[in-house]
């Protein structure tokens, strides 16, 4: 599973990417990312970790095609990314599932919005299978307001994976969940991703989550974000299926190293923390 620079096909290539967003109220442009050069390889689980407001979300939005880069290039399988596409799907921090749709209808949404060349019956069948894969079998006809936060995010994951996209983008998907639910979902996500050989770009601000899930962890500095270091996580999978990953001999060392990188950034970010919320 550990796909790094050795051999695996590059899927997403960002070169000297600079990007930002406009603060509408203050009518000014804010640079979120500067000069990012990064490659996502096929089948790898890449985690981006960094202080809040460092531009992680902007980066994932660029990959998704929601945001256009200001400078530099970003390609998917060699072609420049222009807008969203069926090869990329996303899981959102606030779930972003439609409250007026049942679980089944939410998971069917990607098929309604894009023609994936699959018959209606087949989409229904796939949605149901995906729902049971994320552990929501029996809840197909429930509405989101009847589900707990963890279950809602399972819907989000099912919706993203049901079309079997090349890349799964996840923007702090477990950030809003309680610690226990988060661990359960991390384990389930690992299993899902391993089974599907899914390429993932995953944002978090939790070092433990980064180590638990990532093949590589890219540490991003505070805004404007640059890549400080990319750390390989050389711990065999499955890491979460049975018991504690924290017991692994390499875990402590990795954690300390990542923490030392992130700590500087977190403290450095203090002075810009004022407009932290703007990223959302």
């Amino acid at each position: 599973m550990t796909a790094s620079d050795n051999g695996s096909r590059p899927l997403i290539v960002a070169e000297n990417l600079t990007c930002g967003y406009e603060l509408e109220r203050e009518r000014k442009l804010l640079t979120a990312l500067v000069d990012i050069t990064l490659t996502v390889h096929e089948g790898e689980f890449l985690v981006l970790v960094g202080p809040s407001g460092c531009g992680k979300t902007t980066f994932i939005n660029v990959i998704a095609g929601l945001v256009k880069p200001w400078e530099g290039t970003i390609t998917f399988e060699g072609k420049p990314i222009q807008g969203t596409g069926p090869n990329r799907a996303m899981v959102f921090q606030d779930y972003a599932i439609m409250p007026w749709r049942t679980v089944q209808q939410n998971v069917l949404l990607p098929f309604e919005l894009r023609d994936h060349g699959i018959s209606k019956d087949e989409t229904q069948r796939r949605a149901r299978a995906m729902i049971s894969d994320v552990g929501l079998g029996g809840f197909e006809d429930s509405y989101p307001h009847e589900l707990s936060g963890g279950m809602r995010q399972r819907v989000g994951i099912a919706r993203a994976m049901v079309t079997q996209p090349k890349v799964l983008l996840a923007d702090e998907p477990f950030g809003a969940l309680d610690a226990m639910t988060r661990e359960v979902l991390q384990g389930q996500l690992e299993t899902l991703v391993m089974n599907a050989g899914q390429t993932v770009v995953f944002i978090t601000h939790s070092i433990d989550e980064a180590i638990a899930l990532g093949d590589r962890v890219a540490v991003i500095s505070h805004r404007p974000g640059t890549i400080r270091e990319i750390v390989e996580v050389d711990i065999p999978r499955p890491r979460l299926a049975e018991g504690e990953i924290t017991g692994h001999p390499k875990h402590g060392e990795l954690r300390e190293h990542l923490w030392s990188l992130v700590k500087d950034e977190a403290f450095g970010a203090k002075d810009v923390a004022v407009d932290e919320g703007a990223e959302a």
Partner: protein
Amino acid sequence: MTQTPVKKTDGTGIESQPRLRDANWTWARIWTRYRYGIITVINLTVFFLLWQWFATSGRVNPLVFPKFTDVLRSLKIGWLGGGNLEGFNNRMLADFVIVQNFWETLKIYSVAMVIAIGAGIPIGLAMGGSKWVDAILSPYVWTLSSLPRIAIYPILLLFLGIGTQIKYAIILSTAIFPVIINTWAGVKTTEQSLINAARVFGAKRRDIYRKVVLPYTLPFVVSGVQLSLSRGLIGVVLAEFLSGATRLGGIGWLVFRSAAAFNAPLTYASLLSLAVFALVLVQGTRSMEARIAPWRQVTTT
């Protein structure tokens, strides 16, 4: 990865409530089940008994505060007809007078409400969806909606004169703005992350409207309609107060004129009829809200 498909174990609040199912009725059970109904019945009985007692005690002029039994009698004559008016205050009172005026009010009110809702929703959607439409219409919408509507009555009077048209104008001017503003607010506050999600999964502009913005706005529209129905009711009664009709001026007209003619029982009877109608209307729209958008309770005023 596997989870039993039994709904009861997940702590999601889906599990069914324990039900009273055996026939083992006791007074305690009847009480727990129907207490609100019982309390309401007792409450209202006491209220009307006190009314009757107060009105007959001689402490208050019956021209101002009639006996409840006289009100009931007026209600019967006004709704069902066939009343013996002998020895009873019969100014303005005639067989079926309430039901006829009520029907008159209902006709105008419902037509005006259909127009207000039918025009208000598209206007609100257009204002929410297009910055241009918003920029052009918002000064008028916000000014008119903030202005006490009665202030434009003299101008309406100049234009439309006394008659049915001015009634429609007043009802429309009171009822349309809650619909417009709530619909606009729904479109404007549609969660960006839902729109982003739809875009990621391939939504074009049209899909975003159909699959995200419109369903998101629906509960806002419903509460706008709810508000507009009660505003419209104010409008219709107000319009009838000001109308110069000599007969069949509507229920508001009847309240106003019967009071002017010192027929207090009829005034109270008309008012009670109006109150019951308003109550049914508001409760009806509440249940409509719960049915249309069960996922959400929106309160926007």
